[in-house]
Symmetry: C2
Subunit: 437 residues, 2 copies
């Protein structure tokens, strides 16, 4: 931190920023700083100055951007003497990890949007930041522009949080919205999302729930004060959902959303963190979250249900979150303080088999006497109680759709196993969990 003696801003403290990575987020960030630096200086007394930008390919960038030198050595920017604060916006996990580690070890506050890295190595980075007494902030890593980590970390620090339900991946929410509203099947909706740039050519990380898993893992850390990494998350994506599943759900008053779920058992303190499609009641606030928007519902004992909604991706929204963190870290640096990340206990996990939910399940069966009796016998044997059922004829067969009461996941799996062995059942749909009102 240095006083800008000859600056037109007089005695403001200048905080010199090194930006590592200048793609969509990095360039949106430097543009936003350029636009807002005077307003920020007036409101906070701190002048943000981007002095160095590291890029991977110097040929694609000018030698200077808004007064900042553009260089290719990321590690040099992370540790430069004239850089007070580092913004990591390069993505990836290998070099980005080295950059964050080196910057923290050099005593520089770090702001990052790198969810994959944080979902894997948060404990290591938090430890260094706490030891050095500097900020490591990462609001943008979860749901882009939505302030979520800060409210969880600060506003709700004393709140007994029981569950977090999040639509934390815009690509899959866009696909599901198109399937729901336009009646498209999964493949067509995915193609549409790819054409509009909402889905990548290889959509695996989004549609199989891996991106959502990294985000809900980070959220679980702050919701429950325990260490959770992406590998602790049980994951199921949306690629097996059909237009029929969505139509059935609608018939019963639900929409299907891909949810990140983090639950904490009141008695035992055991947590379950998972990603899977779920039926959400039409009047539930998450049901109204359409297209590429994200929203996270936090269920606290005292606070009740809170929802945070907004754009979960994109250069500008993500840059907005990064800037909020940069201002915070810069003001703290000037005051000689930092935001405590808190302490995290070792997590105790509930196995997915032991989690409970209501379920929707569909079966295609022979349309003849005794079939319904055989099918309901399977549920009864496995202690799964039915709260609604519907039968449609399809040619010589019939489709049966069941909604269950609250049941153990292991018991539902046992039902599925039996249905697969039952002669009269020609096709077993997967079960989909139901979120209560």
């Amino acid at each position: 931190m240095a006083k800008a003696a000859n600056s037109p801003h007089g005695d403001l403290s200048t905080v010199r920023i090194g930006v590592v990575g200048h793609g969509v987020v990095g360039s949106a960030f430097t543009a936003l700083v350029a636009r807002q630096r005077d307003v920020i200086a007036a409101r906070t007394g701190v002048l943000l100055d981007v002095v160095r930008i590291a890029v991977s390919d110097a040929g694609k960038h000018p030698a200077q951007v808004g007064g900042a030198d553009v260089v290719t050595d990321a590690m040099a920017v992370a540790t430069a003497k004239d850089v007070d604060l580092v913004v990591e916006a390069m993505g990836g996990t290998t070099l980005a990890g080295e950059v964050i580690r080196a910057a923290l070890e050099a005593g520089k506050p770090v702001v990052t949007a790198n969810k994959a890295l944080l979902a894997a190595r948060s404990a290591e980075f938090f430890k260094i930041a706490d030891e050095r007494g500097i900020d490591l902030l990462f609001e943008a890593a979860v749901c882009g522009g939505i302030p979520l980590i800060r409210p969880l970390r600060e506003s709700l620090r004393g709140e007994p949080i029981r569950r977090v339900l999040g639509i934390v991946n815009g690509t899959t929410n866009f696909i599901l919205t198109k399937m729901t509203e336009d009646g498209l099947d999964y493949a067509s909706a995915l193609r549409g999302a790819q054409q509009l740039g909402y889905a990548e050519a290889d959509p695996t990380a989004d549609v199989e729930g891996l991106d959502a898993a990294a985000k809900i893992a980070i959220v679980a850390n702050f919701a429950f004060g325990v260490h959770v990494v992406a590998d602790d998350v049980s994951v199921e994506g949306i690629s097996k959902l059909s237009a029929g599943d969505i139509a059935m759900a609608h018939k019963f008053g639900y929409v299907i959303k891909l949810l990140g779920v983090a639950e904490c058992d009141v008695q035992s303190g055991a947590v379950s963190v998972r990603v899977h499609p779920a039926l959400v009641p039409l009047k539930h606030p998450l049901a109204a979250v359409r297209e590429a928007f994200n929203a996270v519902l936090v269920e606290g004992e005292a606070s009740g249900s809170l929802m945070f909604y907004g754009r979960g991706a994109g250069g500008d929204p993500t840059a907005s979150s990064v800037l909020g963190d940069v201002i915070d870290a810069a003001v703290n640096l000037r005051k000689g303080t930092h935001a405590s990340l808190g302490t995290f206990a070792k997590a105790m996990f509930t196995s997915v088999d032991d989690t409970r939910s209501e379920f929707m399940l569909s079966l295609e069966v022979a349309d003849k006497p005794g079939v319904l009796h055989a099918v309901t016998g399977v549920f009864a044997r496995n202690k799964v109680s039915i709260r609604a059922a519907e039968q449609d004829g399809i040619g010589n067969d019939a489709r049966l759709v069941f909604l269950t009461h609250d049941a153990r996941t292991a018991d539902m799996k046992a039902c599925l196993d039996e249905f697969h062995r039952l002669d009269v059942v020609s096709k077993v749909g997967g079960f989909i969990r139901i979120i209560g009102d």
Copy 2:
């Protein structure tokens, strides 16, 4: 702040809290602290200890609550030597104002949920807090349990915010939900809300928009960095809305919500802060906010639309917000720092007449030739352009409903004046603003 030498928590810093007011919020707060103090101590290293509680009528309370002395002298609690931090939960503006002032002047951080007081005297209190270098926090003053002020004040400090739209009063949202979903008229819906405890016997402050005005005034301060008090807010309530207005809105694809609106003009920096009913498109995220829930939509240039949703009132949700602030202030006190409230410029206000919007307007007219021509002539003369119209027969008369394109409020008022003077118009409904998609 004192070390609790003989406490079972060993070397934790204890922060001793004085709670002034022990009604719904105060008692929910002390109960929540009792339940969560060990978790909070483990996560933050600070032990919260409620040592004094001030009540107005000692006869209604035990002499001690959870180890804290219950007394009647509010000012004595606010300035007591063994109180490190003051929670003001008494409500009202006279004594509560003295309590906050005295506590701040005695160098004690203050947490309050008192919106009326803050919406009137924030500048005075902020100044003392900043001079003393202590925290004055008030998340609970706006929308009870919803973290909103902190995200605005911190996460979005660098964000160019253009507009805030908030459903910030649960009573009126409950009434409007019943009118919309059950087809009730205003009087029946109000009675229902009173029976359920959502509305008070004298509902004026809620239904006439005064409560919402205090909240949106506080929000405007942090959204735009300017001083706004409740008296700066132009206010219109819901008591004149009819079941017919709501049905008409529905026909055009809207629901009616009472909104707090804070707008900032990009070019001039002039702000408009107001409370009025508005038509919200059915697919807009605010349309899904039902019953007594609150939600605030923040429209930033970079962040895009963000929404914060939850319970805006009630003992537990409000206590949850108070506790978040108390933890923050306690940790800051221990670190010897405080949260900067920022600086606030003098606001420049746009007059309501100069604000622009789309509008819905209904007229009852004689059902005879030339009427529509006369009516549309009024719009044309006042430069108001129509984008949709609908006509229903009602006996010998007809009801005309118009939706306008974006128009100046003064021009709409001029139309209304002319309609009142037009012979063929038997009844002029008020106009209702429309919120775009």
